[in-house]
């Protein structure tokens, strides 16, 4: 009974975050999954091992995370919608593969259900892989990073991740955490949805050369100037993504706010609760949904209207750096972070805001 998805009328289900990712992948047309066990994402491969064969796809429990990401690399190169999932230490092991996929422009989805670090750390929720997600691997590239903050979004943004990956031929990371992975919530599944780029032709894919010239996918470009040209091409692609794919949520932001909270994922959810209890203050929440591309311009614009910008994270200040780039007057910024699996409470954040605004609410 525990942790099992129970289907209700109107496609509403009471579902665990990790299971929502599996349902989303299947609904998005993902037919190849490779993964290796690690808490707190184990429900994903466990449930996927049942759902993927039902959907006629391939499930592989690989012998390591290195193999997982390279299997996804191979499946993606052959044109399949492919996914791997892991938690922080496992994602560290995948960095080389993500870089190769980006270099080769092979699409794929990587889900990180973050836990405490560094090292093996612990299995409690954390957001300390922000830096690694927005700039993974080696070399000049970015991957798109989506940060859901509830279970509906775990589903919706995993579906979207597959579309973005195919549209731009880029690895897409869904950055979640142990709390959202383990949390159950009622959500609406969109079983009948058409994903926008599901059937887009992949004429670059390695599907066998019968009836056409052979083609290759590689990231080793040794000819003088070839790599620079390739990286220029990647940069143009990155610019297009920055122009078109930035997503965020403005919560309780009106003309009179004195304070702005910037937070993503789980902490954004808790911050909404803070705004709900801080009736004596005029606070709004800005929640980046794409962590790359990061909504610098919007934060810049909003920061001019407020007296304080609070950055809350479950780490020691990683997104904080991006907010500092966005906000012209960094004296306005106040940071509060918990680390090593600590979850900030509503009350804790509320008291921090009060202390830093001397109780005036700004």
């Amino acid at each position: 009974m525990l942790g099992k998805t129970i289907k209700m009328p109107q496609e509403t289900v009471f579902i665990k975050g990790n299971h929502a990712i599996v349902e989303a992948a299947i609904d998005a047309g993902c037919r190849f999954y490779a993964g290796y066990p690690i808490t707190p994402q184990n429900e994903i491969p466990e449930y996927m091992s049942k759902r993927m064969p039902e959907a006629g796809g391939t499930f592989i429990q690989a012998e390591s995370e290195l193999i997982s990401i390279n299997l996804v690399f191979g499946a993606g190169a052959a044109g399949a919608r492919a996914m791997t999932t892991s938690s922080s230490p496992g994602i560290s092991l995948m960095q080389e593969g993500i870089s190769y996929m980006a270099g080769c422009e092979v699409p794929g989805v990587i889900v990180n259900i973050q836990r405490g670090g560094p090292g093996l750390g612990n299995i409690a929720p954390s957001q300390s892989d922000y830096y690694q997600a927005v700039k993974p691997g080696h070399g000049d590239f970015h991957s798109i990073v989506l940060a859901p903050h509830n279970i509906q979004e775990m589903y919706d943004y995993t579906v979207k991740a597959f579309d973005l990956a195919d549209k731009y031929r880029i690895p897409v990371i869904v950055l979640s955490d142990g709390l959202l992975g383990q949390l159950m919530e009622n959500i609406t599944l969109k079983k009948d949805q058409e994903t926008e780029y599901l059937d887009m032709p992949k004429d670059w894919a390695l599907t066998g050369a019968k009836g056409r010239d052979g083609q290759r996918i590689l990231s080793l470009l040794m000819r003088p100037g070839a790599l620079e040209k390739h990286n220029e091409h990647l940069r143009e692609k990155h610019r297009t993504i920055c122009d078109n794919e930035i997503q965020y949520e403005c919560f309780s932001i009106d003309d009179d706010i004195d304070c702005l909270i910037v937070a993503f994922g789980t902490v954004a959810r808790i911050s909404k609760g803070v705004i709900n209890i801080a009736k004596d203050m005029r606070i709004g929440l800005f929640r980046p949904i794409t962590l790359w591309p990061f909504p610098y311009m919007k934060i810049n614009e909003l920061s001019k209207r407020v007296k304080k910008v609070f950055v809350f994270e479950m780490n020691y200040g990683q997104m904080l750096d991006d907010v500092k780039i966005a906000v012209e007057n960094s004296d306005k910024i106040e940071f509060y972070g918990r680390t090593g699996g600590g979850i900030p409470t509503q009350e804790e954040l509320y008291q921090f805001i009060k202390a830093r605004t001397k109780g005036r609410g700004y």
Binding site: F14, L183, M184, R269, I270, Q346
Partner: protein, 183 residues
């Protein structure tokens, strides 16, 4: 309406299952629900808790620091959560396994849930007895809805287990009705 519930006890007592049941009952009433389990290296006998939120609106933090209701299964649970009790908090204690009650605030209710479960020869149903007590005290939910959810989940497994749980649910419910008329 927002109801924030913490359930705590030991692995094997049905703490997570009870949380799941309450969430399902909330859902059957068209509410939004969240259920957050403890997921450390728990095993039978280890400390186990879960946070359940049931609400008419978007649920912000699923992590609870000020509970409306605390369901405490044993002494360790009480010792861990006694400082979370606020004046408005309803505390339902399993008095079969709580000998030293140090909770000072809140509205306290004691029910010998494990003894009641043993009396129907099904010690695992202590959580269902606690559920019965909860539904007797929180009239925003109907005990019949709990029965419906239990039927949907349990009958497939075993009719006998469902019937024992049904008995446990109503014994918990009636115990409160008989002993705590004015809570």
């Amino acid at each position: 309406m927002e109801e924030r519930i913490i359930i705590a006890g030991s692995g094997g007592q049905g703490v997570q299952t009870l949380g799941f049941l309450l969430a399902e009952v909330g859902m059957s009433d068209k509410k939004r629900v969240t259920w957050l389990p403890s997921y450390g290296a728990e095993k039978r006998g280890g400390f186990s808790f879960c946070h359940v939120v049931i609400s008419d609106q978007e649920i912000y933090s699923p992590y609870i620091e000020s509970p409306d209701t605390l369901l405490l299964f044993d002494q360790r649970a009480l010792n861990t959560y006694k400082d979370y009790v606020l004046n408005h908090t309803l505390v339902i204690e399993n008095s079969s396994l709580i000998k030293e009650d140090t909770v000072v605030n809140g509205k306290k209710v004691s029910i010998p849930a494990t003894d009641i479960a043993n009396s129907i020869l099904f010690t695992q149903a202590a959580n269902t007895v606690m559920a019965g007590a909860y539904f007797a005290l929180k009239t925003i939910f109907h005990v019949e809805n709990a029965l419906k959810v239990m039927r949907a989940v349990l009958v497939k497994k075993s009719k006998q287990i469902f019937e024992k749980n049904e008995k446990a649910l109503y014994q918990g419910f009636n115990f409160i009705k008989e002993n705590y008329q004015y809570v």
